[in-house]
């Protein structure tokens, strides 16, 4: 019978203590795994998305708010810019790609983003197109729309079907439905793993038409006159890709000076957001996880110490059968390693399994596509550290067992 088999039998013999110890370790490990994997995946997804754009121009306000509203469809927009600003930027020789977005309405909580056809020409830094159609085509008529992949799945809308937008960026009961302006689905995008999967893309012209009509109606009600051709067409934000990222600061400064708005660098804002807001929360969670693991390691130590004390007679018997001190110490150490190993394995499964279960909800809430089973380097380091802690905790009872002389313990009765 091997050491491993003997150690396993002893652990199985006191199964309840074994189970509780393994679960204790597993909970700590699961927490660490989930936090580290979530941090890594969210950073990767957020940075990937933010990295698609060099600049976002919009009305005056918080740069982070501008980025969250324009890139991630999460916050309220900061304000508008004249459409002329977009046209000027599009013609700028330093700009590789630019697309306007106009916000104002939603359907079932999904934002209707007014834009222009070149929005779909965006490619990632490797030159691969970000948007691909799973079916249908780009909008051609003013009230045709393209659905993000998640919107199509969640709403059940498909090519040729129509719906009405509701005023505002969030779905609230009793919201003002634009029943005079039905949208018709012309295409559905393939999943991108970005927040764009949760958006509906229509023409900028449709956004203007709906809201100018609404404004005219409201003006008529108020008894004030409004002439459409007197209005200056506006956009909520302008997404910009430069020919080289090195121009970001220069261009941002120039936009601030030449327009009535601001320009934010998405990647900078997101990194600042991660470090300033998400970072402390993650650090607090990691501290809790470290405390859980420390307690779990102490549990391993206590469990093995108690096992060694209860098994003084058994250890003495093994010695009387010819087992060397090192062998009985190794047996106890093996038990500790098995406990730690089982705890880590179960914790990995719980942590990543939990993340896999939560991945759908995270994607629905934020649009972030996370890979729950991918293990970041930091997690491997953390697991290695935990394994070492478990081994160290197993060593103390093993050493104590090594030092015992069997003669007195042989007389302990059953």
């Amino acid at each position: 019978m091997s050491f491993l088999a003997m150690a396993w039998r002893y652990l199985r013999f006191r199964w309840l203590v074994t189970l509780l110890t393994v679960v204790g370790i597993a909970l700590g490990v699961a927490l660490v795994c989930a936090v580290l994997a979530l941090r890594h995946e969210s950073e990767r997804a957020l940075s990937r998305e933010a990295g698609l754009y060099d600049l976002v121009a919009g009305g005056k306000g918080s740069p982070l708010q501008l980025v969250l509203a324009s890139v991630y469809h999460l916050d309220s927009p900061t304000g508008n810019l004249p459409y002329a600003d977009y046209e000027r930027l599009r013609r700028d020789r330093r700009v590789l790609w630019a697309a306007p977005i106009g916000l104002g309405d939603n359907y079932a909580g999904y934002r209707i983003v007014g834009t222009e056809a070149q929005f779909f020409d965006l490619s990632d830094r490797g030159g691969h197109p970000v948007f691909q159609f799973s079916r249908g085509r780009i909008f051609e008529d003013r009230f045709e729309v393209v659905l993000g992949s998640h919107v199509a799945t969640a709403t059940g809308l498909d090519i040729g079907e129509s719906f009405f937008g509701t005023h505002g960026l969030v779905d609230v009961p009793g919201g003002e439905v634009h029943r005079d302006f039905p949208y018709k689905v012309s295409g559905v995008l393939a999943p991108t793993g970005t927040a764009q999967d949760r958006a509906i893309f229509g023409t900028l012209a449709s956004v203007w038409e709906i809201h100018e009509t609404e404004d005219r109606l409201h003006s008529a009600i108020r008894g004030t006159a409004l002439l459409a051709d007197q209005r200056e067409r506006e956009v909520t934000a302008i997404l910009i890709r430069l020919k080289t990222p090195g121009l970001r600061l220069w261009m941002a400064d120039e936009i601030r000076k030449r327009s009535d708005g601001i320009a934010a660098i998405p990647i900078n804002e997101i990194l600042r957001f991660q470090r300033g807001v998400i970072g402390p929360v993650q650090r607090a969670l990691l501290a809790v996880a470290a405390a859980v693991i420390a307690v779990a390691c102490l549990t391993v130590l206590t469990t093995l110490h108690q096992a060694a004390e209860r098994r003084r007679r058994d250890i003495a018997i093994l010695r009387s059968l010819g087992a060397a001190r090192g062998e009985v110490a190794a047996l106890l150490f093996t038990e500790g390693l098995l406990l730690t190993g089982a705890g880590i394995a179960l914790g990995l499964l719980l942590g990543h399994g939990g993340l896999a279960i939560a991945a759908g909800a995270i994607r629905d809430a934020t649009g972030l596509l996370i890979h729950p089973w991918r293990m970041p380097d930091t997690e491997a380091v953390a697991l290695g550290t935990m394994a070492l802690c478990g081994a160290a905790a197993s060593l103390f009872p093993a050493i104590s067992c090594y030092r015992r002389t069997p003669i007195d313990d042989l007389h302990l009765t059953d």
Partner: protein
């Protein structure tokens, strides 16, 4: 097979306020001989057995088993020597609770004889002591008599030339005790093993060809004030 010459050993009492001295000028047991160690409680019977097993080391003198002076062996060598040369049977059986009868015997082989085919040898030893149908029973599923038979199987499975039995019938009823004693004698005689058996039962001791009275082997010694007696 076993020789103790001018052996002395001092060890402390539980309260360490005093110590006792074990002295044995000369004791020899030939190969294949069966000897009963008798005497009152605390007279040194078990200490003699433990010295032969190498579970205690003598302070002075020579303890040789199978021609090897135990004082010359390192702790690890002593453990291996014990496993290879001494099969031990205890009053309270000392089976390992998580394991079955066959596993208890096989574990003895693993650490003792360190030979291959543990399971085959273990089941053979168990059949020999009449437990061929109880191989997979755990110790709590065995009667006390069966437990002691498992302990005997464990002691004989590895071909150890010396059997050391410390009151093997002490926890058994008279009939079962007699059966176990007969079994122990029988396997020792059949295999030509040396048997050293501690017993309080004069009737059993009388059945062995030789008995050694341990009375007077252990005497109290005084410890100088402020000094602590050494422990074993």
């Amino acid at each position: 097979m076993i020789r103790l010459r001018d052996v002395s050993l001092r060890f402390g009492n539980a309260d360490r306020a005093s110590s006792v001295q074990f002295r044995l000028p000369d004791f020899e047991v030939a190969a294949g001989e069966a000897v009963a160690l008798t005497g009152s409680s605390g007279c040194g019977k078990s200490t003699l057995l433990n010295l032969v097993a190498g579970l205690r080391r003598a302070d002075e003198g020579e303890v040789s088993v199978a021609g090897i002076d135990l004082a010359t062996l390192s702790p690890a060598q002593l453990d291996r020597h014990r496993g290879a040369h001494c099969g031990m049977v205890f009053q309270t059986f000392h089976l390992l609770a998580p394991f079955t009868a066959i596993e208890n015997v096989a574990i003895g082989l693993r650490f003792g004889a360190r030979k291959r085919a543990h399971s085959e040898r273990a089941s053979e030893a168990l059949r020999r002591v009449g437990l061929g149908n109880r191989l997979r029973a755990r110790s709590d599923q065995l009667s006390v008599g069966e437990r002691q038979r498992v302990a005997i199987a464990r002691a004989i499975a590895g071909d150890a030339p010396v059997l050391l039995a410390d009151e093997p019938t002490g926890s058994l009823d008279p009939d079962t005790g007699r059966e176990v004693f007969a079994l122990l004698r029988e396997v020792a005689a059949e295999d030509g093993r040396t048997l050293l058996m501690v017993t309080h039962d004069p009737a059993l001791a009388a059945e062995l060809p030789r008995h050694f009275d341990c009375a007077g082997l252990v005497r109290p010694t005084t410890v100088a004030p402020g000094k602590e007696a050494p422990t074993a």
